[in-house]
């Protein structure tokens, strides 16, 4: 029983629900209290203990249904199969002795109750074999009769008709071939095959072909029965692999993709991956936010905290000489993001804005500006719309036109140079390709003088910074920091550094 829960928690972890050991222990005591009998009750209870955010609760719901439904389906299948068996057994009754048929039926219902039990199961199978053989054309004349025992280990196991043992054998084989390592769905066939091999498929195949060529009627009958059960086994293994895939691989495959996407150049990201990228950005931002959300305190000089001072000076006979000052919390950093949204750089800007605004928790005061030729503030767009819409609107409204950094800086100066103070960090994202226009670097210098930090992020690789119409040489003189930035990893590093220095 406990193993079931442990497996379930494993599956949950795979579905990216974070569960600590302490929570696992809680889950155990919770199950102890409510038991496994009432499924809905169990689900409700566990959903209080294990998932700890709204998203995780959704994941939990689907994982729970998937995980515990599987056993149900198996149970149903066992039931329907043994029902069918019952029917078959009844059909075969005519050929067989009456008592045997009755026994077969008894076995069938027993199996329906606790699948895996085989009191009389073997006999029932025999009788069922009769009925079945009646339908097979090539050996129609075999009729009811004895079957020899299967010789190969897997064959013997199959003939034993013990579901429990088969499942155990299947899991063991699965362990051996590391089915948990399955990563992509194309591997399902491969692993099915491997597990069958591991269970001794070769031996079984040999036995079946031997049996077919045999002169002995009962051996041939046995061979046919084995063949039929081999197909059944294949289905079972396929199901097993499928389940393992769903529980283990889905996440690993995704993690692999995420890992790749972090490193890929942002301009090369395909449109269909945007969703995933957004998730990654969000995750990265969460991580950074958690890291930097502690606020530092600075002391406000000149204001005494009376209660604290009195309290601390109690030990000195109430004479106040160890003064305690009031402290205030430091302001959150002000960030101005200026993004080039012309064709070549638009994609980078998109992700950078995404990143900055996902960091709302630690950087609530982001003002953003977009330009290709004319510059405008887009902060409002982001306040009023959700992230995706805001970005789409920004790109729609400002992305046209050829790049003119000089004009953009002039607009910026007009708009909000006064807003820049010693707490402000300015991030400019662009390739500095000015189409041979006037770079107006003096405005950048003015910004540089006023702000705390000016960071230029250039999506082009360093080699091409000084080639052609790029003004990077002139601009970089007035930047505190110049960085190449063209993948999510770069972006994460830059923003991480930003948070470290500004908070």
């Amino acid at each position: 029983m406990d193993r079931t829960l442990a497996n379930f928690i494993r599956a949950l972890r795979n579905a990216e629900v974070r569960i600590s050991t302490a929570e696992t222990l809680d889950a155990f005591s919770c199950v102890e209290l409510v038991g496994y009998e009432d499924r809905a009750h169990l689900k409700r209870s566990l959903s209080l203990v294990l998932p700890k955010t709204e998203d995780e609760k959704e994941t939990f719901d689907s994982t729970f249904d998937q995980f515990f439904k599987y056993t149900d389906v198996q149970g149903e299948r066992a039931a329907t199969q043994s029902e069918a068996d019952d029917g078959d057994a009844a059909e075969g009754e005519g050929g067989e002795g009456e008592g045997e048929g009755g026994e077969g039926e008894g076995g069938g219902s027993a199996e329906a109750q606790n699948r895996g039990q085989q009191t009389g199961g073997k006999k029932k199978k025999k009788s069922k074999g009769n009925a079945y053989l009646g339908e097979e054309e090539e050996e129609e004349d075999l009729g009811p009769g004895e079957m020899t025992d299967a010789q190969s280990p897997l064959g013997a196991l199959l003939m034993q008709n013990s579901r429990v043992e088969l499942t155990v054998a299947m899991s063991e084989a699965g362990e051996k071939v590391d089915v948990r390592e399955i990563q992509v769905f194309t591997q399902k066939g491969l692993y099915t095959r491997r597990i069958m091999d591991e269970m001794g498929l070769a031996g079984l195949n040999r036995e079946i072909s031997d049996a077919r060529d045999s002169n002995n009627v009962s051996q041939r009958r046995m061979g046919q029965e084995l063949k039929r059960r081999r197909e059944w086994l294949r289905d079972q293994v396929r199901d097993y692999v499928e389940r393992q895939f769903l529980l283990h691989a889905d996440a690993t495959g995704k993690r692999l993709r995420e890992e790749l996407l972090r490193k890929v150049k942002l301009s090369n990201v395909e449109h269909r991956s945007f969703r995933l990228i957004q998730e990654i950005v969000y995750k990265m931002a969460k991580k950074l936010a958690a890291l930097h959300s502690r606020r530092k305190k600075v002391f406000k000089r000149g204001q005494i905290n009376i209660p604290r001072t009195l309290r601390y000076n109690m030990a000195y006979d109430g004479a106040i000489f160890d003064l305690k000052w009031k402290s205030v919390k430091i302001d959150r950093p002000k960030v101005f993001a200026i993004c080039d949204v012309s064709g070549s750089v638009a994609n980078y800007s998109r992700f950078m804005l995404m990143f900055l605004y996902s960091l709302e928790e630690v950087m609530p005061k982001v003002r953003s500006f977009a330009f290709s030729s004319d510059l405008a503030e887009v902060t409002d767009l982001f306040d009023r719309n959700n992230l995706e819409d805001a970005i789409a609107k920004t790109l729609r409204d400002y992305a046209g036109g050829s790049t003119d950094y000089g004009q953009a800086f002039q607009d910026f100066k007009r708009l909000c140079l006064d807003g820049i103070d010693h707490r402000t960090t300015i991030i400019i994202l662009g390739d500095a390709r000015n189409n041979y226009g006037d770079p107006r670097a003096e405005i950048l210098k003015e910004m540089y003088d006023r702000c705390k930090r000016l960071i230029w992020l250039n999506p082009e690789s360093r080699n091409s910074w000084y080639v052609g119409d790029a003004e990077m040489r002139r601009y970089s003189a007035y930047c505190h920091q110049v960085d190449e930035c063209n993948s999510l990893m770069h972006l994460e590093r830059v923003v991480g550094n930003l948070l470290r220095t500004v908070t």
Binding site: H41, L48, P51, K57, L310, R311, M314
Partner: protein
């Protein structure tokens, strides 16, 4: 004194008792209280504003007939306001008294060592219970027969404060450096923490709690809530207004109406002797359920459609 253990015997029983106290809840909520009671764990309740998070704690205290101790969190809340504080005024007075009696105490003492020895004998009551001013958390631990402790809007407090809570949440105790550890009396308090999710609560805190998410209720439950809270409203109208609100929640609004707004609206309509919804009436009373002018303007064009939908339900 009601028998708490009997009340919390099963989820169904709890639910019934909640309903007696006019708090209609889903199985999920009742299960949370059930587990909280049996596993002795705090519950972290999250959900949109106005779905009855605080009400849950209040009703629980009412139902179990336990005192409710409430700590409202805000930015800047610290241990001096949440756990304990020294009565420094009294301490100051005490030093004055001590100074005057010091001569008597030290009279006849030979040398410095003996003086210090006598002072020690005099007792270290300076930082003792006498001078301790308990704040909500400490008070909750000291309640003899247990209590319900509500730590409201924990997301509004600082990160540091969350760490302060960890000890009390996992072990039901607080450590006061000058005195030692104060443990909960035989009945630890039932703790409810509520959060509006304005920021992510730390994992350490979440790990120690059961996590209950209360979403907006479905039609059925909301109708029963209205029935419980505004019993006088005709059934027909009740169904209409609940349907209307449910439809509103699907729209893209700045602030969707919560249960408390539904209740307010029901009361309003009752006051206006309304028999049935009609677009004009809805338009006139819309400011009861929508709290932003922008939302009201947005909804305006759809009122007729939604109202007729609600009427048909």
């Amino acid at each position: 004194m009601p028998d708490i253990a009997k009340m919390a015997e099963s989820v169904e029983a709890l639910k019934a008792h909640f309903e007696e106290h006019r708090y209609i809840c889903s199985d999920q909520v009742a299960t949370a209280v059930y587990l909280a009671f049996h596993l002795r764990k705090p519950v972290l309740v999250e959900g949109p504003p106005g779905v009855g998070k605080t009400e849950l704690a209040k009703t629980t205290s009412e139902m179990f007939d336990l005192p409710l101790i409430r700590l409202q969190c805000y930015e800047g809340l610290d241990e001096a306001k949440a756990i304990y504080e020294w009565k420094y005024g009294k301490q100051l007075l005490y030093t004055q008294v001590l100074k005057e009696t010091l001569d008597e105490v030290l009279q006849g003492a030979q040398g410095f060592a003996e003086s210090v020895g006598r002072l020690h004998e005099f007792g270290d009551i300076f930082f003792s219970e006498e001078f301790l001013e308990p704040r909500p958390l400490l008070k909750a631990l000291r309640e003899e027969d247990g209590c319900v402790l509500l730590i409201d809007e924990v997301d509004k407090s600082d990160h540091e404060f969350e760490s302060l809570l960890l000890e009390i949440l996992s072990d039901y105790q607080v450590s006061i450096p000058e005195i030692g550890t104060v443990k909960a009396t035989k009945e630890p308090p039932m703790v409810f923490l509520t959060s509006n999710n304005t920021r992510e609560i730390s994992d350490a805190l979440k790990r120690r709690c059961l996590h209950l998410y209360i979403p907006f209720p479905d039609v059925d439950i909301e109708q029963r809530i209205i029935h419980a809270r505004v019993p006088d409203i005709p059934e027909e109208l009740r169904r209409q207004l609940v349907t209307f609100i449910q439809e509103l929640r699907d729209l893209d609004l700045k602030k969707v109406p919560a249960i408390s707004e539904t209740i307010d609206w029901a009361r309003t309509l009752l006051l206006l002797h309304t028999e049935t919804l009609d677009p004009q009436l809805v338009r006139d009373t819309l400011n009861v359920i929508l709290k932003f002018q922008e939302d009201i303007e947005n909804v305006d064009s759809e009122i007729t459609a939604i109202t007729s939908k609600a009427l048909k339900s």
